[in-house]
Structures are given as C-alpha cells and as structure tokens.
Subunit: 601 residues, 2 copies
C-alpha cells in the first residue's frame, strides 16, 4: 500500500472540531452549503490528487520545463492533470456562483488545495496564481475588465501571472524601472524586463494574463509611483476572440532546485515598441492593490510550506512503521529480531517534531483562512474589522513560520529514511527541495521580520499586537481551568509576558537608539513571535484534543487525540523554551550584526 | 572576477597561527618539510582545483552517472580531473615516501583537500575512498596484500571502496547477511547484496578493490561475527596483471539529490556461485578494523560538511558585496541609490552565522587532524595516547556538528541570494543539496549522539570526557587573563559547568531509570556538547585573533582579525545560549519522545 499523502482525519479535526466550519453555513454566502457539500469538495480534491497528480509527481520533478525555440516545453501529463482540476471546478471553488465558482469558504478550499498540493509537486502554482490574478482584477478592475479577463481565467481558458520582480529590483520594488506610457486610446505601452515570473509562458492555456507592475512616465520615484497593468500574451477582441500576439517575449526559463512543477521565466515586455497594457484601478496605486493580493499569496506560501511538511511527515511516518533496523539500547541480544525504527527514541523525536511543525503550521494557516472568511462574511462590521486587523498582523508569521519550520521538518523526513531519503526512489528529498523556495518568494523571511517588527506590531498604536495578544490570552484563560492543560497555559502566559516586555524594549530602543539598530535583530523577533504563536495554536488544538479524548469511545480516536496532546507537549518542551535566550538578545538590542563591517568578513 | 572558492588567508591562519603546523617539521616523519613545502602542496591543490574542477563543477552536477548496459556512464571530464589529482601526487599526499606518498601531515593534506572539495562538487569522494581503503589494508593486511592492492591504489591504477550497508541492514550492521565460505586455497567465496557503495563501479580505473563486510559461515550473530574481505572487480595475477572478471555485478545506480560527482551503487556479489575474496587480518574482527578506518572517514565527513559551508559562505559573501538592493530602514528617500545588500543587518546576520558555523566547524576538524597527526607522530607515548583518547571522544562531534550546521549555513547562503540562490546559475543550491548527505552517511547524527552519550563520555571511567573538559579549561584559563576575551571565557566556563551537571544527571538516570530513557534525548545532548565545543574552538581562534590584532600593521590584517572576533562574538551571543533550555530538558530526563506510542502518530 502506498504511503498516505495526507491524514484525512487531521483535516476533519481542523475543519470541524477546531474551526467549526459548519457554523459558516449560517452566513448568507454559504447558505447552500453543509458538511456534506464541504466533504464532497474535499473528497473530489483527494480523488483528483490520487488519480492525476500522484502518479506523475516524480516524472514532473524529473522533467523540469525547458526553453526550446522561444517556447516552454513541458511533459504533456501536466495539462491533463490541470485540466482535471479545472473540470472538477476546484480551480475556482471559492469564487462567486455567477462567476462559475462554488462559493466555498476559504477554510474549506484550503483543504481541497492541500490534497492537490501534497500530491502534485508544485503544479498547483498555475491554479493558485491564476486565481489570485482573477481575484485582484475582481477587486480593482472595471466591469469590462472582469468580463474580458476574469471570466476566461475562472473557466480555465486563460491563465494569470504576477510580474513584479526585475533583474535589478528583486525584493526592492521601489527601484523597478519597467515603464508605461499612456496612449490616445487609454491603453498603455509597457517596456521592461521581468524575472521570476511563475507560469510566465506555457501552452497550457490559450492565453496568459500578466499583471505587471510598472511606472507611468513622469510618476514619482519609489513605491509611490508604481501602477498595475493587465498585459495579455495575446490581445483579446471585444467579442472575446484572440487577437494579435502582444509584444511580450519569453527570454528564458530558470532551472530551479525544486518546484519543478511550475515554470519560472524571464519575460521581456516591449522589445518591439511596447506591449499593450491596461491600467487596473488608478495610476500610482499599483503596489497597494498588489499588497491586497499579497496577503492572499502569503497565506498560500505558508500553506505550501506546511503541506510539504505534512506530506513529508506522512511519508516518513509510514516508512518508520515498516522499516526494521537496530535494537533498543537496552537490548544486547543480537538474536532478537530488529525493531521497526519507529521504536527508536530519536526517530520518534524526529517524527514528533515533524508532527508539531507541520500540523501546527497548517493549523495556523487554517486560522488565517478563518480570518479571511470572516473578513469577507462575518455578520458584524466590528468582527470583520477585527479579523482584518488580526490577519494583517499575523501575515508575516503565517507566511514565514510554516515555510521555515516546514523546511526543518522536511530535513527530518530525509533523516528518518537515512540514505534512502537522499535518493529519488522516495519523495522526501523532493519535498526538501520544493519547500526551500517558500522562505524566499512573496517576501523573504527577513522582509517578513521587518514587516512584523517595523510595521505590524506598531501600526494603529499597537492595536494589531493587542488583538493577537488578546487571542492568546483568551485561549490561556480557557486552558488554565483544565487540569491537564494548565501547566501549558502557564508556560504560554510566561512566554507572552516575555514577548510583551521584549517588544517594549525594542520600541523604546527605536526612539533612543534609532530604527536601524532596533530592527537589526528582527529575524530573531519573528522567530520568537512565531514560536509563541505556534505554541498558542497548539494549546487551542490541545483544548479540543483533551475534550475529544474524554469523549472518545474508539481506540483509534483515543490514539488520535493522544497524539495531538503529545505533539503539543513536544513543542512546549523542545521548542518554546528556546525563546528565552532570544528574548535576552532582543531585549538588550544586541549590536553584533549591526556593528559588523563589510570589510571584516 | 569569479567568486573566491575559499579564503586562502583563513587556511594560513589556521595552519600556521592557530595550529602551528611548522612545529611538526621537528618530528622525524616530517623532517624534510617546511612551511614552503606545505604551501607548495596547498598551492598545487588550489591550481588543480581552479584548472580542472571548478570549470566542470556545474556540468558534473547536471550529469549524474547513469546505469547503461550494465555499466556506469559518466562525463569524460571527470577522469581528466581525477587524473590531474593523481598526477599531482595529492591523492596520496599523506602516505609514506616508499609507497609513493609525500609524507605530509594530515593537517596540511586537509587544506589541499579543502581546495579540491570546494571546487570539485563531490568528485573527491573517489580519492578519499581509495585512500581510506588503502590505509585500512596498510594497517591490517599482509605484506603480500599491501603489494598487490595498496600500491596500485596509491598510484591511481586501482580504486578502492567500502561495501558495508545491505538492503536490510543500513545503519544496523549487526544484521548483515552477506556470507563468506572458506575455500581450500585460503580464499573465500562471497555472496550477498550491498547498497550505497560510493564509487562501486565505474571505468575511471582499471580495477576496483572492494572492502566487504561479510559473515563467515558459522560465525556468531551480531557484530561479533563480521569479517572483512578484499573483493576485487577483476582478479589480479601474482605479477600484477589483471585476470578474470570476479563475480561482482553492478545492480543499479542511485539517483541522489546531491553529491552527483560520485556514483552510488548497488552491487551483487556472487550471483554466479560466489565472488572471490581475501580475508583481511583475522576472522570476526572485521568491524573492529572498519571502525579504525571509520574515525578517519568521519573526520572527512565533518570536513566535507564544513568545506561545503565555507564554499557557500564565500559565494554568498561575494554576491552580497556586489548586489545593490533596498535601503536601510532609516532611509526614507527613494532617490538615494540602493545599498549593497551586505549593508542590511539581516544579511550581515546570515553571513556572520555562516562564518561562525563554517570557519568554526572547519577549525574543529583541523583540531581533529592535529590529533590524528599526534597519534601517529607525537614524540611521547603519553601524548599519543592522550591524543587518541581525545579524538575518539570528539569524533561524534567532529562528524556531525559541521555536517548539521554546514547544512544550516548552506541554507543561509541560498537565502542571501534570494530567488537567485534557488536556481542553478549559482552554486549555492548545489552546496545545499550536496551537504545534506553529510548528516547521514558514515553513521547518522542520531547514531553519533548515541555513540557520544552512550559510549564516549562513559568509556574508561569518563577519561575521554575529562580530557575534553581539560582542553576546554586550559583555553578558558588563558582567555580569562585577557581583557577582551574574559567575558567569553566566563560564558564558556558556565556552559562547561552546565555540561558537566547535565552529564552527571544523565549518568545517574542511566542507573535509576534505565539506559533507554537516559539515551532518549541523546541528539539534544550532542547539540549541547557540539555548541560548547564550537564555542571553545572559537575562543581558541579568538585568542590568536586578539594577539594578531594587537600586532597587525596592515589594515587588511586588522580587518581579518576583527572579523574573527566578531564571528566569535556572534556565536557566543546567538548560538551558545541555546544550550540552557536544552540542558534543562536533558537534566530532567524528559520523557516526551520515549513515551510517545507509535499508534498515536
């Protein structure tokens, strides 16, 4: 029997026991739904994943897209698998009914995407990007733009991309130089070079709609002068038929360590006078629009980090249960049969760590999706605003913690398999390569840390931080009443106190020492904030698991909840305490890195 | 100008300022040598590295060996590069003059190998393995065996391998089943399947000498019944000419995530009745012989981990110095030009961490080589025995710390480059893949941790641990007298106290709670022991750097020593303090992992 891709029981635990997805069906947008329709969507995703994605996963990884005669060449199985997603309706599962969607909540579509991502190497990127692109035009485009571009993207006829980075401005969007010149007919001529464009060219769809950041001639420098444009690969006539090829050329395909399910390209816009582009919204607001979408993209990156980790964990677990090797230290008799390696304490440590990191990271992303659903559909304006504040503040953690710890988990999955984990007979080395992109794209971990410490915890007079802390405190208040969980609640309470004290020290330091020194150790602050956030989410999971354990009748349910509680314990014993040396370093505004001089290296 | 492969100045610092390699020339074995001959060997290695290895590194990585018509197929450039190593004499640089060697000390040959390894992807594995194989036959074989097998290996005509693992006994050698039956002529017939045989088959040399672990019919079970055999690919006549092909067949080639410079194979011995093999030493002592060689192999793995990290660090450093992007947080004017990313505090953090891990890990391995030289050539029997005790105790740390932290360093090298680090235009993603093998082969990190805690710190009534601690203490005693270094000496002293207390708690626990629980967190113990050992080596480096800084006249020397002191400070501020939460966990014999039940996962 092949190793399970994901743990179905775990998805159900999160969806229904922890985040109570059924309660969403009381909201008008989801009124047609119930647990059966949610389950049906997740089961459809699982079936597509098992039938179309899993069988080709290794082949996709071994055959990365190539650049041949100006076009992208990829194995034909990819189109078949992606078409299956589109035909199943899963590619626009959360979209409005009247745009061809299923109006499913985010928290449910994240579970459908989990199956496809876990089984599909990184092929799902095409779907995610197209969907994010369509959502952005939906939010800021005109009705005409929605009809012309969003409909064919939702139906799967067109694909969508995001074209932001340039060779000389990767993370530094302020310096991008792609230019846009307004024409008499209201369109723009776009000229510039873009890199790292995922899905930037391919033959999977009849057209590709690029969303391009560019600077209108004469606009302000820096991020304030950036506008957003729709730039299609083929022009589209008003009747929806394809027109001439636009002035967008594929300049090259990057050869990536992982993520080979998705092509990454360099595109040249306007080699022959200028690509035709159409302004989205108003001039100079492009980055604001893009950042709206960026939250969505960053949750997806966090999910991807967690799902890679979950998939690696499930694989390593299955292997450890079946692989006999060695004996316990107390056994000195070579005639006894070897034990399965899951019996070895250090293998259990590596599996527990993977469980704590992957399931904790995934649960945090699910919490983020719950907030996204609340922003869209919570009955009260107050709740919507609160959810928005909370999500904005937590985005850097949701994006980076599952990415960083997902990579650690994937490394441990390799280690559980030993030499077998290092070769391509098993997928764990692929997960390790795939996941390594997640701490980089959509804003590196370093950039997330500056966003968190330099902006998010400061904004609205600290209201975002207050909101996060109040979430932590209300979980602590529940857990402190529970005999089993009270020690963990106490531990989390002390960690939160330490976080608040540390934050205050840094904020004082911003005034007394200046922003550069105060932000110098922001990455450690993100580590600290992240570990406390994950400890909190585990306490939330622990509360549900403890209740579940008390009520459980079947042994497999008891085992399931015991496992959750043990993973929580693991995180509180092995990981949470590491914040204290970090707090000390942060609290004293350690200057080791900022004082380092380039010539000393 | 291409990025430097390694920092030449750093090798000289270690060789001459820290480890005083010149003092070795007073010993008879090295009497013909002086600093000039040492430098000449290192320069030769650098030249071969730059001329033959660096230009083909990416190509080697992109063209891993394939299995075609029963043979290994690899790109022809590999043989040219390896022949250049052999012709330069570097492949047997430490061997005796009368075996065609140069009689160079280990500490010097490690620097020659550093250049070749850093530039050569993982091609050097062929040389290392052949050399280790020859050393083992040298140590335990008969004169006839040395003449027949060692000479042609040293000259480069033959290659050598180690064939230990089997499909059902990877790390668990006690369960290996390859059998050996003694023949009337004194030879043996070997039958069994071996996997993960690096260099197990290829056409680079005219013959391959496998050293095979097997069980003589009727021998004891477990590790006590294992013997060691020479099993050549081609039989060799008494005049040295090649005879018939032996009954050894290539069964397959593994496709590895990294380390693609070297083939990893599955070999079947005795498909047609039995491969002819020749016993090394006595029956049933095979594992003891192999473990003698294992220390050498484990130092090489540690070196490889550190050198991959050094190479990645140098590359990322070069990139960070030249890549403009973004502005400091205090700069709000988008019209100022972007700074080079080396100015960003978080990039400096990632570079400082890489420097601390790679240079610290490499220095520890150099210390290990100094001990290996002392074991062979120290004038007094007492010093030789002490060096042997010290090296035996430290081997698990030397093997695993540079491997584990080397992987962390390589991950940060990718992160410094961002998206560019994830694609094969730059070698940092290759280093990341290559290095991931080092925590696995020659005994996983988990196995090293059990070796350290369950054996090394206990052996000879704790004499090994005492020896390590006394090394730590004598460095502390020197540093405590130095104004700049006294705080670090104090910090290390407290860490050593914590290590001793933790060790005592665990030893008590072995008696009261049993060995399984006491060893359950051995990996954390290795982490703790490792970080303290690296803090100690950095204090040693700091002492030399402080002296160097005082005496330095040129700015580049001052910068160099300042960098060393800052990297030391980084390790003491960012990494060493993490031992305290680990000590708490270890001291209370935390049972989280050991109590975890397989069915709870």
């Amino acid at each position: 029997m092949p190793a399970p891709i994901l743990c179905q029981r775990d998805l159900e635990f999160l969806l229904y026991e922890v985040f109570d997805a059924e309660s969403l069906t009381k909201r008008p947008r989801y009124a047609d739904h119930n647990r059966e329709t949610f389950d049906a969507a997740v089961t459809t995703a699982r079936n597509v994943a098992e039938k179309y994605f899993l069988p080709i996963r290794a082949k996709v990884d071994a055959h990365q897209p190539t650049f041949e005669q100006g076009a992208v060449n990829m194995i034909p199985e990819i189109k078949i698998a992606l078409d299956a997603v589109i035909q199943s309706g899963l590619s626009s599962a959360s979209a409005d009914y009247d745009l061809g969607g299923m109006q499913l909540p985010n928290i449910v579509t994240n579970c459908t995407e989990a199956w496809l991502t876990a089984a599909g190497s990184t092929l799902l990127g095409y779907v995610f990007l197209s969907s994010a692109n369509a959502n952005l035009i939906d939010a800021y485009g005109t009705e005409a733009q929605k009809n012309k571009w969003v409909r064919p993207i939702r139906s799967g006829d067109f694909a969508g991309t995001m074209a932001m980075s340039e060779p000389n401005a990767g993370s530094g969007l302020a310096d991008l130089t792609t230019s846009a010149v307004r024409q008499a007919d209201g369109s723009y001529r776009i000229v510039g070079n873009k890199i790292w464009i995922s899905g930037g060219d391919h033959e999977l769809n009849e057209n590709i709609v690029h969303l391009v950041l560019a600077r209108v001639k004469g606009a302000a420098s820096g991020v304030k002068g950036i506008s957003l444009f729709i730039v299609p690969k083929y022009l589209v006539n008003d009747d929806g038929s394809l027109g001439a090829r636009n002035d967008v050329a594929l300049a090259g395909v990057f050869h990536k360590m992982g993520g080979r399910g998705q092509t990454s390209t360099a595109l040249n816009f306007g080699e022959h006078g200028g690509a035709e582009g159409y302004l989205v919204g108003e001039e100079n607001k492009g980055l604001m629009y893009m950042f709206h979408m960026m939250n969505e993209a960053r949750i997806i990156v966090g999910f991807s980090g967690a799902i890679n980790a979950l998939a690696g964990y499930q694989y390593a677990l299955d292997y450890a249960k079946q692989r006999p090797q060695g004996r316990l230290p107390s056994c000195k008799d070579p005639l006894t049969p070897p034990v399965n390696i899951i019996q070895h304490a250090d293998v259990k440590r590596m599996l527990l760590a993977q469980k704590a990191y992957s399931e904790g990271g995934f649960a945090l992303c699910m919490f983020g999706s719950q907030l996204a659903d609340d922003i869209k559909t919570a009955p009260s304006e107050e709740r919507r605003r609160y959810a928005s504040l909370l999500l904005d503040t937590l985005i850097p953690v949701i994006k980076s913690w599952p990415s960083e710890y997902g990579c650690k988990a994937n490394s441990m999955a390799i280690q559980v398999l030993g030499g077998a984990g290092y070769v391509n007979e098993h997928p764990v080395e692929m997960f390790y390569r795939d996941n390594r992109l997640n701490p980089i794209h959509e804003g590196t971990t370093g950039i997330q840390s500056v966003d968190l410490l330099g902006r998010k915890v400061m904004m609205h007079q600290g209201a975002g931080l207050d909101a996060v802390i109040s979430e932590f405190q209300s979980t602590i208040a529940l857990a402190i009443e529970n005999e089993r969980l009270a020690p963990y609640a106490g531990q989390l309470g002390r960690a939160v106190d330490s976080l608040l004290a540390t934050t205050a020290s840094i904020q004082n330091g911003m005034i007394s020492e200046g922003v550069d020194l105060a932000l110098a150790n922001s990455a450690r602050y993100l580590d600290m904030f992240g570990n406390i956030t994950i400890a909190w989410i585990w306490l939330k999971l622990g509360l549900v698991a403890d209740g579940g354990l008390l009520a459980a009748e079947h042994q497999h349910d008891k085992d399931f909840y015991q496992g959750k509680l043990q993973a929580m314990q693991y995180f509180y014993r092995f990981d949470l305490p590491e914040i204290y040396p970090w707090a000390e370093l942060l609290g004293r505004l350690d200057a080791t890195t900022s004082e380092m001089q380039p010539e000393w290296f």
